[in-house]
């Protein structure tokens, strides 16, 4: 029996990578910006759900590797 709560069954890191790629390749600023915010909210959600594993900052804060899924994970 799977006892993992539904909110922990999501692979938020994978979702973030997808959102970041979609944002990066969006056709309009409106969509690109919205997807970037959605990406940040997945980080926030992960900090609530899995505080011992969640990154502390959005990857795009990291100039060296802006496409990272989150820095200092």
């Amino acid at each position: 029996m799977n006892r993992t709560p539904p909110s922990k069954q999501l692979d938020l890191a994978a979702v973030r990578v997808t959102l970041l790629k979609l944002s990066d390749t969006a056709d309009t600023p409106a969509v690109g910006r919205l997807l970037l915010q959605a990406y940040e909210l997945t980080l926030v959600a992960e900090q609530y759900i899995d505080p011992l594993q969640a990154p502390i900052a959005p990857g795009w804060y990291d100039v060296a590797d802006p496409m990272a899924g989150g820095v200092l994970a």
């Binding site: 980080l43 609530y48 505080p51 502390i56 795009w60 804060y61």
Partner: protein, 458 residues
């Protein structure tokens, strides 16, 4: 049935069970991990931290344990923030760690200590750095998505009530901004719209209650269930709290404690009204905090009074071991029936290291005078402290309003009672002036209570 009505989380008693019920060992583990990461983050991005840590002879990798953190990591003070801000030019921000594109909100401190400090918050900070700390207390007080909150406040650069707007958004409350109206206009709007909650400073909400009575506006009929307060000591004085609740038809009070630069990150649980529990839970989701001694800033024993030193997990301007100058009694996790495991600041803010005034050689915390005023039956919680100097001797005069049901004949006895209380508790003899109700000025933002005239009178 709507999505909100069907949601499995809607009937849960706690806003954020994962964090609120986390065991102390796990909270410690999460905090230590985050602190190490934050130190690394700040060190890489903020010259101020590189220089400060170089002067202390440490690098991020040296901080591995709590002992390392408490013993070797230097504290940060408001003057550091101002100095770094000045170094970054006339439009610069002190301690900024994130890219320019991340800037989302500008705030500034009120400037009571040093100059005003410019604060930059990122969108990400809005969700991770106590911007929405109020949600914990509001949920506890019974507000739910679909409830409404009236903001009795003129919105400016001060972060305090903006953070509540964002918290209300996060929680799903309807925001009713009451900026731009006078007190009567706001009261009429509250009577008309019947919000579930009203946010404001304690003194101003008290003022609104008084004005409502004068204008025959029945706040009890408006059905306000929750008062969300911030910025002053008032609600931790039981007589003030009782009076405020009475004026607002018995509404529950949820007070929040914090400072703009370190975010408002500690809040009352429902037991503040249900069981007269007096103090704040630190929202440890957003910050680490401890009470430290005022010389080495090492933790004092649990339950002892020390300076509140916080590390906030805000990225726009990371604050690591920030000295708040507030004196608190940090008692760690306590079980007083609310179900929260977050650390507790018993009695709230007990004083300020920098609001200490020296009268006739005695150190006096002005907040202690406030508590004594609040504990004197027959006196209103509206008071001012005036310090003068006559022939080289300091004199403290407490000007305080009597309650409306007292006559001028009662004033001498009230005066003698208050003077005796202060002499017994603080050890100095003061002069007290008992005033008629509503004599003293009321403020919408932070109430000015201390007036030091010594330069004028010496």
């Amino acid at each position: 049935m709507s999505q909100f009505q069907a949601a499995r989380w809607r009937d849960q008693p706690l806003w954020d069970r994962t964090w609120q019920t986390m065991s102390r060992p796990q909270l410690d583990a999460v905090h230590l991990r985050r602190i190490k990461q934050l130190i690394e983050f700040a060190y890489e991005r903020v010259p101020f931290y590189r220089e400060k840590y170089a002067a202390a002879g440490i690098k991020p990798a040296d901080v591995r344990t709590w002992d390392d953190f408490y013993e070797h990591v230097p504290t940060v003070d408001k003057v550091d923030l101002i100095a770094d801000q000045e170094r970054n030019g006339p439009n610069g921000f002190g301690l900024e760690a994130t890219p320019r594109e991340a800037r989302a909100w500008y705030h500034q401190t009120s400037g009571t200590t040093g100059g005003p400090f410019r604060e930059v918050f990122t969108h990400y900070d809005r969700s991770t750095a106590a911007y929405d700390a109020s949600t914990y207390g509001w949920w506890d007080a019974g507000l739910r998505p679909g409830s409404s909150m009236y903001f009795a406040f003129n919105f400016g650069t001060f972060m305090g009530f903006w953070s509540k707007v964002f918290a209300a958004e996060r929680m799903g409350l309807m925001v009713i901004p009451g900026g731009g109206l006078d007190t009567v206009g706001r009261l009429e709007q509250i009577a008309e719209l019947a919000p579930d909650a009203v946010a404001g400073t304690p003194t101003y909400l008290m003022r609104m209650g008084e004005v409502a009575q004068q204008h025959g506006i029945d706040l009890g009929a408006a059905g306000v269930r929750v008062l969300s307060t911030a910025g002053e000591l008032g609600p931790s004085v039981r007589s003030f709290r009782a009076q405020l609740r009475e004026l607002w038809g018995g509404a529950r009070i949820v007070d929040i404690y914090g400072q703009s630069e370190n975010s408002f990150g500690a809040i009352e649980c429902r037991m503040a009204d249900d069981a007269e529990v007096n103090g704040f839970h630190v929202i440890e989701r957003y910050m680490h905090s401890y009470a430290g001694d005022t010389e080495q800033y090492r933790p004092v024993a649990p339950g002892e009074v020390g300076e509140h030193i916080v590390t906030t997990f805000r990225l726009g301007q990371p604050l690591i071991k920030y000295r708040t100058h507030d004196l608190v009694r940090h008692v760690g996790t306590v079980d007083h029936g609310c179900g929260w495991n977050f650390g507790f600041l018993e009695g709230g803010v007990l004083g300020r290291t920098d609001d200490m005034i020296t009268i006739k050689g005695t150190n006096v915390y002005t907040s202690s005078i406030q508590r004594l005023v609040g504990d004197t039956p027959g006196l209103e919680p509206h008071y001012e402290l005036h310090i003068t100097r006559d022939r080289g001797l300091d004199q403290l005069t407490v000007r305080v309003e009597a309650q409306a049901d007292r006559t001028a004949d009662d004033y001498p006895a009230l005066r003698d009672q208050l003077v005796a209380k202060i002499r017994h508790a603080v050890g100095i003899t003061v002069t007290a002036d008992i005033l008629a109700p509503e004599t003293l000025q009321r403020y919408e933002l932070k109430t000015k209570r201390v007036f030091d005239h010594r330069r004028e009178t010496s």
